[in-house]
């Protein structure tokens, strides 16, 4: 009998050990600061407690050196960089475990974070800030303002770390020469139709295989929501109702824009769902001399400038203005304005703000500006932008032209995230000739409205 009790006890103890064992080991992984964690409670009791600020971003957006610099100057605050992953972030938000600083795009998801009550109002911090001054802001910072109805007005919820007019076009003259095509004049913008025609001429085939593509896009050269919204901005057409409750993608102008991309797929202007080119992204094609043009913001000049092979003949590269719609307005908006918000649920708002200031105006901001990775969000950083080589100067001057027309915000709806995923789902069958474009746009509209409705209900 004693034996039996002992075995039972042993089993229970084994269980406890197993469970706690799992617990501590996974705990350590989360802390990531290795050996420090076990000592922390003791030291924390006597001196100021260490605070860890978690920052969700894309790899490389803040470097380890910058983190070290911040931590040395701000004892008591540690920065933990977390690679942003949409699935993980959704789960973290759902379990109230969101990072303190979250990468957000002013032109894409800022309003959605605000209506969900996930973004902290930064206005009180801004008023007291030494590093960030409102009169130093460039207009795109306003994309992070939202009063619940109109983007660009109201409290400030974040800031872009950098931005670009995103629809400008970089060209590679060697590939223009190969196709016997002249590089267009950069003084006046092409129309979208002219751009597509140019792309066709630049697409060269050999034995039925594509030798060089005409026009690459960030991802695939097919219906891309930001560029469709850009087309609509140039046409001055709105697809979302004023109360944000409905979307209408059946408008003729939407059809014009989408059919342009359907043709681009037919003509193989770039990597697409039909040709399944294994290049990881459009930039890959351009950097490997496989695409004559790429539609990308000023930040892309950083890629060219930094590439060992391209560096040697920078005169072959340059930037063209963003295209406009036929008879459309001159617009060169940003499609992203990537930056950060601070989570409303952060436990350490003061420390999170310090990290925010550092990323927006400290060493990381200066490094970004001088590297030419996008236009800074602060006027005071503009002089740091590269203007050494002839390439730098040409791109910089072209950028100044674009900035005159960059104040048009692209339309977005706070209740509709991942519109691109929906667009892909309904338009891809059209590329394969399996669906009619009108039907696809009807279905798209129907499903967008369903999701908008559900998301509106969820917060009421």
């Amino acid at each position: 009998m004693k034996k039996r009790i002992m075995t039972s006890l042993a089993a229970i103890i084994a269980t406890c050990v197993l469970i706690t064992g799992c617990g501590t080991s996974s705990g350590n992984v989360n802390e990531d600061q290795g050996g420090n964690t076990s000592n922390e409670p003791q030291t924390g009791a006597s001196t100021d407690a260490q605070v860890t600020i978690r920052v969700a971003l894309n790899k490389g957006e803040v470097s380890d050196d910058e983190v070290t610099e911040f931590e040395t100057n701000n004892p008591g605050i540690k920065i933990k960089l977390e690679e942003l992953n949409p699935q993980k972030l959704a789960a973290q938000i759902a379990t109230n475990d969101a990072p303190d600083l979250i990468r957000a795009q002013g032109a894409v998801d800022l309003t959605s974070y605000v209506v969900k009550g996930l973004a902290m109002d930064l206005t009180p911090y801004l008023q007291k800030s030494e590093m960030l001054k409102e009169d130093d802001f460039l207009p795109p910072v306003n994309l992070f303002r939202f009063d619940g109805k109109v983007q660009g007005q109201g409290p400030l919820y974040g800031m872009p770390k950098d931005w670009s007019p995103d629809f400008t076009i970089f060209y590679n003259k060697t590939l223009f020469d190969a196709a016997g095509v002249q590089v267009p004049d950069s003084k006046s913008p092409l129309t979208w139709n002219e751009l597509m025609e140019l792309g066709k001429k630049l697409t060269l085939k050999e034995d039925g295989k594509v030798k060089q593509y005409g026009l690459a896009l960030g991802s695939k050269t097919q219906a891309d929501l930001p560029s469709i919204m850009d087309y609509l901005a140039s046409k001055d057409v709105k697809v979302f109702s004023e109360d944000m409750k409905t979307a209408d993608f059946t408008k003729p102008e939407v059809k014009e824009a989408v059919s342009m991309w359907v043709d681009a797929v037919k003509n193989n202007l770039g990597k697409n769902d039909v040709n399944q080119d294994p290049a990881t992204w459009g930039g890959d094609l351009f950097m490997n001399n496989k695409a004559a043009m790429i539609m990308a913001g000023y930040w892309f000049s950083g890629m060219i400038r930094g590439d060992e092979k391209m560096k040697t003949h920078l005169n072959d590269f340059g930037m063209l203005p963003a295209p406009i719609a036929e008879n459309g307005n001159l617009v060169s908006p940003t499609g992203a304005a990537t930056g950060f918000i601070i989570s409303k649920n952060t436990k350490n708002p003061d420390q999170a703000w310090k990290v925010f200031e550092y990323i927006m105006a400290g060493t990381p901001a200066k490094n970004r500006a001088s590297g030419g990775w996008g236009v800074p969000a602060l006027k005071s950083l503009i002089p740091l932008m590269p203007q050494e080589t002839d390439f730098d100067k040409r791109v910089y001057n072209q950028l100044q032209e674009e900035l005159k027309y960059s104040n048009v915000p692209l339309e977005s709806n706070p209740f509709l995230l991942n519109g691109q995923t929906l667009l892909d789902k309904y338009v891809t069958p059209v590329y394969f000739g399996k669906a009619d474009l009108d039907d696809a746009l009807n279905e798209l509209t129907k499903n967008m409205n369903l999701i908008i409705q559900e998301n509106m209900n969820a917060i009421q």
Binding site: M1, R4, T7, S8, L9, A11, I12, A14, T15, L18, I19, P86, Q87, A90, I93, A94, N96, K116, G117, L118, G208, K209, V210, S219, D273, V274, N275, Q276, D277, P278, T280, W281, L417, N418, T421, D424, K425, T428, P429, F432, K434, I451, E454, N455, N457, A458, I459, Q460
Partner: protein, 302 residues
């Protein structure tokens, strides 16, 4: 009385010993499952926990009214109906080949089992390079002056997916081999004395005595096939939120998209529960049918 306490003590010991599993099963298995069931009746969208609304069977109604989920379920059943029997047949065939006392057996065994060890992401990437527009397969076709085929396009994407899945058919190899080794040699000897041909031997000795292994593989394979999502997504997409081409838009892909791309947690969980019930029914059906075709040497009930 004495007997009773002894019995209780035995129960106590039993539960003490299974307690590690039991505790983990309840906290990490049963609880999340029921919590998910609860959320599927709400309008949860990932951030509105404090304003949660009960929506009754609305999410379930959407599952059946939504043309996409039914389409996706149809495609999933089709892929399963092709994939599972074929991989069972290939797995058994390979096992029989390897059971012939050939040289280098362990080498072949490793080679055929390898695909099951390779992480699924690498597998998909590899096949993507084989199937892509100017990939290995089309280059090969080109050499033979055969027309180029859009393997990941509309017509062939599902075929490509199934070919990729069948590459992993060796996963049932080890268990099949074990089953084959368990067949008593005297049965084959008796069959030989009766003058049975090899084909006859296969159908009257090997196959009946392998049915319990096939049964296990059938159940496991069907469940895995119905729950597949990462292979179709990555075969044509780059990130997990890319919708696969329509013919490969399988049921769990749909659920994954609804939850992670559109934060429709409630609806997504309803989709999961419908799938769970479908799998449960299918499994019960297979179990029920097994008494007609599965042969156990020891006369035990399933």
């Amino acid at each position: 009385m004495m007997l009773q306490t002894k019995k209780w003590r035995q129960y106590g010991t039993f539960y003490a010993f299974v307690s590690p599993w039991l505790i983990i099963f309840i906290t990490l298995g049963v609880f999340p499952l029921l919590y998910g069931l609860y959320l599927s009746f709400t309008n949860y969208t990932g951030f509105n926990m404090d304003k949660l609304k009960f929506v009754g069977f609305n999410n379930y109604k959407t599952v059946f009214e939504d043309s996409e989920s039914i389409y996706a379920l149809g495609r999933t059943l089709l892929v399963t109906a092709i994939n599972v029997p074929l991989s069972l047949a290939i797995g058994l065939f390979l096992a029989i080949l390897l059971n012939l006392k050939i040289k280098g057996l362990s080498w072949y065994r490793t080679a055929f089992y390898m695909p099951s060890v390779v992480p699924v992401v690498s597998t998909v990437l590899m096949w993507k390079f084989i199937f892509s527009g100017e990939g290995l397969l089309n280059t090969f076709f080109n050499r033979l002056h055969l027309p180029q085929v859009s393997w990941l396009g509309y017509e062939y994407a599902t075929t490509a997916l199934i070919v990729m899945l069948l590459w992993g058919a060796g996963s049932s190899l080890l268990i099949n081999l074990a089953g084959l080794k368990g067949i008593p040699a005297d049965l084959y000897e008796a069959a030989e004395i009766d003058g049975a041909s090899p084909i006859r031997k296969f159908f009257t000795v090997t196959l009946p005595l392998m049915t319990h292994v096939l049964f296990l593989n059938l159940i496991m394979g069907s469940i895995a096939s119905l729950q597949m999502y990462i292979q179709p997504i990555l075969l044509t997409g780059k990130t997990l939120l890319d919708p696969p081409i329509k013919p490969n838009y399988l049921y769990l892909v749909h659920a994954f998209q609804q939850i992670f791309a559109f934060q429709r947690f409630g609806y997504g969980l309803a989709l999961m529960w419908v799938l769970f019930i479908a799998i449960l029914l299918l499994t019960i059906l297979v179990f029920y049918s097994s008494r007609y075709w599965v042969y156990y040497e020891t006369e035990q009930e399933v």
